[in-house]
């Protein structure tokens, strides 16, 4: 208390009355010199004594004195932050040449979740799992914290000084190796660097690049800008060895547009997807017709299609030069079919479909296919007049093309020769990425100065003398452009946790600009010059800048290229010979190749097709497996020339025979505790060219076995006992477009009336329900990651997944029907169904799970004693039990530390060991909505409430809301002809409705 505190102005002015009053503080009656015995028999002292005594007795035994922790409020609270309320910052995530507009949710200045930025014109607020989970990398306990020289800490000043000197003084080549750059500003900086230090040479490496496609496009149309595709406009889509729904290009965009074309629920007619592929991909899973074909054969297929179309007169021969015409005429569907013993019927239907829908079809070749095939495909599209499905206004831009293998070879040679003074790894990891055949790692030892800029340890930092810690994406500024029409801005949402800098800032330092906010200034001026000044903006730059940061996106005028003509002269025949086993090397679905391998959430995310976690495998077709006598988990030795790896086999229905598909990005040797030695490093099979599939592989059984763990048991398809159970039990209900068109009520026909002996409870106020459109759900698993982040789902590790203890609240069930080699795949997201008559509730002895007035099946974690009875009695098996405190159990407490705790959502309880947990329909969001309604003093209808799986779903397959509002989508979907509940006959009245998948196949061959 300050000394001169006053109780009233009068006192402050030393009013005599007050002064007097102060002297005898008791009012009249009580004197200062009174004696206690004047007072009543039970004196105050006695009373107090008794009181004290009794309290003492009461308290000794029955209170606890545990420290409840202290409170640290804001000293001066920033205007925008209200403790307990989230803030959102628009920013950009970029990795491996792709960029996504994101909206970062922060609490009290700490990021806790990354969501898509709905204002992003390309991705429309959808982002891949990698981005969702990347928040964990910010709080990764193994991030690099200090710049080091040969392992010893060193100050940034020293580092920058010495490197700047090096750049200036050295007369040898200085190689700067980077991954593809998505930021024009960064690119500009690199140019400036090269301008200032002439001996700097920039190399760009990218393992999964679309250089063949670009090359082919340039040859076909002589245009740099690769257009994006209007998938939603296509009626027939033919994918040639291309997983455009799962991996290739901008998959979130592809998926969204594709799904718009599958919107049969709202009565639109739907597209038809043909897939020709060797590996079993997400796209293959979702296709109406799937044909197994090796990549080498794709070229012939295209030519065969062309010739058949010609024969049928669907396209006129006038489109083609004579030379091309002749090479087309060499092929024919029938011979092609017989050569590769394919079902001719499928091919002919395809041809007629293409013929019928000219201009409304798209043939799409995979990135790994050779340039010739791409050119042929362009030709086919061209001939079919599909070019109006090319969208130039959203075309792809890229700065600095990927260096060719020869450049790298040259570099390595120079390194050996000692003519390279320094190698700077600009946030890249060539030691792991590049094929061994370059001998890059050894070459590094010949270079005196090796610098690595990286956020976390990797194989390259290990071999570098200078290791400079980079800031996380969420700690950095930036501007990114990957598409013609839009530029996205990146702003930090938390100040750097460690002594890190962002790579651009480092470059600026080397360029001699040492100030702390150097890059912020640079960026601002860059945007001013190159964006603001170019566009015609009414507002002043500050306003422009603030609103740009606010939205995260700047739409720039993009002049539409007039559609160029196909250049026939560049057409060339591809080599189509195939010998022996083919090995396909593929990108992995979850974490790619970069720093995201050390992310538990991504490693544990089940593979969308195989459901494998914590491993990659050699996928082989059932019949090939039979020939080789291979079972699941048998370790195979795979040789291609002198390159060899040993990897466990997995029998994957739908694989092409004599083909093996392996995903890359695994087998990291120095990527951090989580990723080290997870899976097998298949990069060892790369031959240094840009090619990703190889013939003449020899495959032999080693006799050893290695346990692959997946979240779903593999029942062999021909096991009579379990075959097609999902169809028999009506878990999956499907139909064909024709059937549905004929009688739309086909699902409801075999429904029987169920009655209950008691009458159900009424939910008059709000009633939460969810509907999942299986026509749109592709099985991409992004909902799972988003849910993990939102709801503090722990990582359990391989050993626990092996005993079926993964904690995901939401899983994607994958079912095969049909034959092992030609399976029909069905996917079904399975989460808590919040049944009105929930079986789990009846059996809980302590009422830990019961029903809320708004129809939620709620789980009271701290009431739960963990009998697991509810889990047993749940017919959907969506309840998860904390067998351990997994944070404590995983990789000896890797994620149990003050830092990683910060990733947890403050609004969601962190479950301890021994309790059951499950999907809550994101009750925290519901409560937030309710609070708002109460604050605004309006009736809560829950129209704006969303679940995190819903917001994450790239195809908007998930609808959630208050089904008591009859006009709401959710209410309509529940009544829809295609709607059904899983295990309806149990009469537990689930609140999750599934909309049956409609396959767009011709009835005659279904």
């Amino acid at each position: 208390m300050p000394k001169n505190i006053w109780k009233s102005i009068k006192e402050y002015e030393n009013d005599p009355e007050v002064l007097k009053a102060k002297l005898d503080e008791y009012k009249e009656g009580v004197k200062d010199n009174f004696t206690p015995d004047e007072m009543s028999s039970l004196s105050r002292r006695k009373f107090l004594a008794i009181l004290a005594a009794s309290t003492a007795y009461a308290t000794t035994a029955c209170t606890n004195y545990r420290d409840k922790g202290e409170i640290v409020p804001y000293v001066d609270r920033p205007e925008e932050i209200l403790p307990g309320k989230p803030n959102f910052y628009a920013s950009t995530f970029s990795d491996d040449g792709k960029s996504y507009g994101i909206l970062v949710k922060t609490r009290e200045g700490r990021p806790i979740k990354i969501e898509g930025n709905p204002d992003d014109p390309i991705n429309k607020g959808k982002i891949p799992s990698k981005v969702h989970a990347s928040i964990l990398n910010l709080y990764d306990p193994e991030r690099l914290t200090e710049p080091t020289l040969d392992g010893k800490e060193i100050s940034w000043e020293k580092v920058n000084k010495s490197i700047a000197n090096l750049l200036a003084s050295s007369n040898k080549e200085i190689a700067l190796i980077t991954n593809p750059i998505t930021s024009p500003a960064t690119q500009k900086l690199l140019d400036e660097l090269q301008a200032k230090y002439s001996n700097v040479k920039v190399y760009t490496t990218q393992l999964f690049s679309n250089c063949n496609r670009q090359d082919a496009w340039k040859k076909s149309y002589d245009s740099e800008v690769l257009p994006s595709i209007k998938w939603n406009k296509a009626k027939v889509i033919v994918s040639l060895e291309s997983d455009f729904l799962g991996k290739e290009g901008n998959r979130t965009e592809n998926a969204r547009l594709y799904a718009e074309g599958r919107d049969i629920v709202n009565g639109n007619d739907i597209n038809r997807l043909y897939t020709f592929e060797a590996g079993m991909s997400l796209t293959g899973m979702n296709s109406d017709y799937r044909v197994r074909l090796k990549p080498q054969k794709q070229y012939q297929l295209v030519m065969a299609l062309l010739s058949e179309l010609l024969k049928r007169g669907s396209i006129s021969s006038s489109n083609f030069d004579s030379s091309i015409l002749s090479s087309i005429r060499k092929n024919s569907i029938s011979s092609f079919a017989t050569d590769n013993n394919l079902d001719t019927k499928k091919l002919t239907t395809l041809v007629s479909d293409l013929g019928k829908n000219k201009g409304k079809t798209i043939i799409y070749a995979g990135d790994i296919l050779p340039t010739e095939t791409h050119i042929a495909v362009n030709l086919l599209n061209d001939a079919l007049g599909n070019s109006n499905l090319y969208d130039y206004s959203k075309g792809f831009v890229n700065f600095g093309s990927v260096s060719s293998p020869n450049d790298i070879k040259q570099l390595v040679a120079n390194m050996y020769a000692g003519s390279v003074g320094a190698v700077i790894h600009f946030d890249s990891n060539p030691v792991y990425e590049l094929s061994n055949s370059f001998g890059y790692a050894e070459a590094l030892t010949k270079v005196e100065t090796v610098v690595a800029l990286s956020e976390a340890v990797n194989e390259t930092t290990k071999l570098s003398s200078y290791v400079l810690p980079l800031s996380n994406i969420l700690e950095s500024w930036g501007v990114h452009q990957t598409r013609v029409g839009s530029i996205t801005l990146q702003q930090p949402v938390i100040s750097t946790l460690y002594n890190t800098k962002q790579k651009e800032e480092v470059l600026l330092n080397w360029l001699g600009n040492g100030s702390d906010d150097a890059y912020t200034k640079y960026l601002k001026s860059y945007v001013k010059e190159n964006v603001y000044n170019k566009g015609s903006n009414a507002a002043d730059f500050n306003t422009f800048w603030f609103s740009a940061l606010h939205d995260g996106v700047i739409n720039v005028s993009s002049k539409i290229n007039s559609y160029p003509n196909f250049i026939q002269s560049n057409f060339a025949n591809a080599n189509t010979s195939v010998n022996g086993f083919t090995v396909l090397l593929q990108d992995n679905y979850s974490f790619g190749l970069g720093q995201y391998a050390n992310n538990g959430w991504l490693q544990e995310l089940p593979h969308p097709v195989t459901k494998l976690t914590w491993d990659n495998c050699a996928a082989v077709s059932p019949s090939t497996a039979k020939e080789l006598g291979v079972e699941n988990d048998d370790v195979l030795k795979i040789n291609i020339g002198d390159r060899e790896i040993s990897i466990a086999a997995m029998i994957q229905p739908g694989m092409a025979n004599e083909t093996i598909a392996i995903e890359l990005g695994y087998g990291r040797s120095n990527a951090g505790t989580v990723a080290n030695n997870v899976g097998v490093n298949a990069n060892l099979l790369l031959d240094g060219s840009s090619q990703l599939y190889f013939d003449n592989a020899s495959v032999t059984k080693t006799g050893e076995t290695y346990k692959l763990v997946s979240t779903q048991e593999h029942h062999s398809l021909d096991e009579e006992l379990v075959k097609d159970l999902h169809l028999i039990r009506n878990i999956i209900q499907e139909g064909t477009a024709e059937e549905y068109a004929k009688h739309p009520e086909f699902l409801k026909e075999h429904k029987h009336e169920i009655f209950s002996i008691t009458d159900n409870h009424e939910y008059n106020d709000v009633k939460w329900s969810m509907s999942i459109d299986l026509n749109k759900c592709l099985g991409c698993s992004e909902c799972i990651t988003s849910c993990n982040v939102e709801n503090n789902i722990p990582v359990v590790g391989k050993d626990q997944v092996e005993v079926g203890r993964e904690m995901h609240w939401l899983r994607l069930d994958r079912y095969y029907s049909g034959t092992p080699d030609e399976p029909i795949v069905s996917v079904q997201p399975m989460l808590c169904q919040h049944c009105d008559n929930a079986p789990c509730e009846n059996v809980c002895p302590v009422n830990a799970t019961n029903h809320s007035p708004d129809g939620l099946n709620q789980m009271v974690y701290n009431r739960c004693v963990g009998t697991r009875y509810c889990a047993n009695n749940c017919p959907y098996k969506v309840r998860r039990f904390n067998f351990y405190d997994f944070r404590d159990h995983f990789r000896d407490e890797y994620y149990q530390n003050e830092l990683t705790y910060l990733v947890n959502n403050p609004e969601v309880t962190v479950r301890s060991r021994g309790v059951i947990e499950k999907c809550t329909f994101c009750v925290q969001n519901i409560m937030e909505g309710r609070e708002l309604a109460i604050k605004e003093d309006e009736e809560f209808t829950g129209k704006d409430v969303t679940t995190s799986c819903q917001t994450a779903c790239p195809t908007n397959a998930i609808e959630f809301g208050n089904s008591n509002i009859p006009e709401s989508t959710i209410a309509k979907n529940r009544e829809h002809n295609l709607s059904y509940h899983v295990l309806e006959e149990l009469n537990i009245i689930p609140n999750v409705t599934y909309l049956a998948k409609i396959r767009n196949t011709h009835s005659e061959d279904v």
Partner: protein, 456 residues
Amino acid sequence: MSSEYAQEFSVVEGKPSLRSLDEIISKPLNTKPGLKYYLALAFTLTLLSIGAVGLAASLYYGTGLWGNNNPVGWAWPIVNFVFWIGIGHAGTLISAILFLFRQKWRTGIARFAEAMTIFAVITAMIFPIMHTGRPWIAAVWLLPYPNQHSLWVNFNSPLLWDVFAVSTYFTVSFVFWYVGLIPDFATLRDRATSKIKKVIYSVTSLGWRHSNRHWQHYEMVYLILAGLATPLVLSVHTIVSFDFATSQLPGWHTTILPPYFVAGAVFSGFAMVQNVLIFVRKIFNYEHIITVDTLEKMNKIMLLTGTMVGYAYSMELFIAWYSGVNAEQFAFVNRAFGNYAWAYWIMFSCNVFIPQLFWIKKIRRSIPMMFVIAVFVNIGMWFERFVIVVTSLSRDFLPSSWAYYSPTITDISLLIGSFGLFFTMVLLFAKALPAISIAEVKAVVDGSQPTHHEEH
């Protein structure tokens, strides 16, 4: 009344004097046990400590140490629970139901069987508590007491019914057992030589004076308790079976479970009692009190209940087929031919085929044969519970969530430990208390009852 006894064969062979009965029965209490006894005790204590280690570990690290996985939420611990509760059925059945049916032959074995009931129930009660995720809370929150959550327990839940059923069963059995012990304590008190024993027995005998004015009420109360215990013993396993029957898992959700559980319980209970008694009568020379005729009668009951169980197994299959529900049918086909077929056939052969040997009188009366068969019965009954609990869970409605269960070392240690605990208690009992009801046996020795024909 006496006329019926005339037809009855003599329960106690020979015509031992009443005092000699005192001698024989109280002998173990007064004499120092031999080396054999200590070896046996050492053995059981070893088993017990193995279990104790397993228990401590799973309490400290969590149920993750067990084999339980996602679909299979319940496994060995629950199997053990049901198994031991089952064992605990013979005792009260023998002392209550057979008492009501005036089966005099029960007197020799009643006391021991009752004791085994109590020990079995104690052993069983450990598992439901320890199998929970947070035992320290489960132990308390399962009781309906006013708490700071102002939340009550859920009386819909079969698990809660268990809590009441098992604890009631334990209490009543214990009271029943103790009431039976009072006169014997008095007898021991009056034979006691050492001061301490005298004090202990004086307290425990509650001042019993063998007064007929007391005997009169005592007999009535004993009859009433028997009357109450009879439905109780039938209810306990019925309610345990509700844990499964009232759930909706295919393979659990079957109305036949209650009777079939009770039959099974009696079946295994008798097997266990018979096993133990075979040793007891040898070691303490009770051959003429626990006679072969008695054992044969028990074997007959095993034959009966075993056949009932067999009937239940086949009826289950029929009903499943008859239901026409795929999940239901699959559950049972899967039991017999799925990935747990081995367990199913162990169960079937041990419980249904092997006991059929008891049709043969020779086998029924041959000590070694009946011992071996009873052992098989117990193995079979354990597997019955395993089959019901695990196979149903591991493959239920959605094929996507199926998984195979296999136990861990901790699971095994807990099972071993439970046997350790049970037999330790049995051994201590045999040493510390009259293993046979003195008063009851005296009452059925030939000529122990007045022959006053002028009455009738």
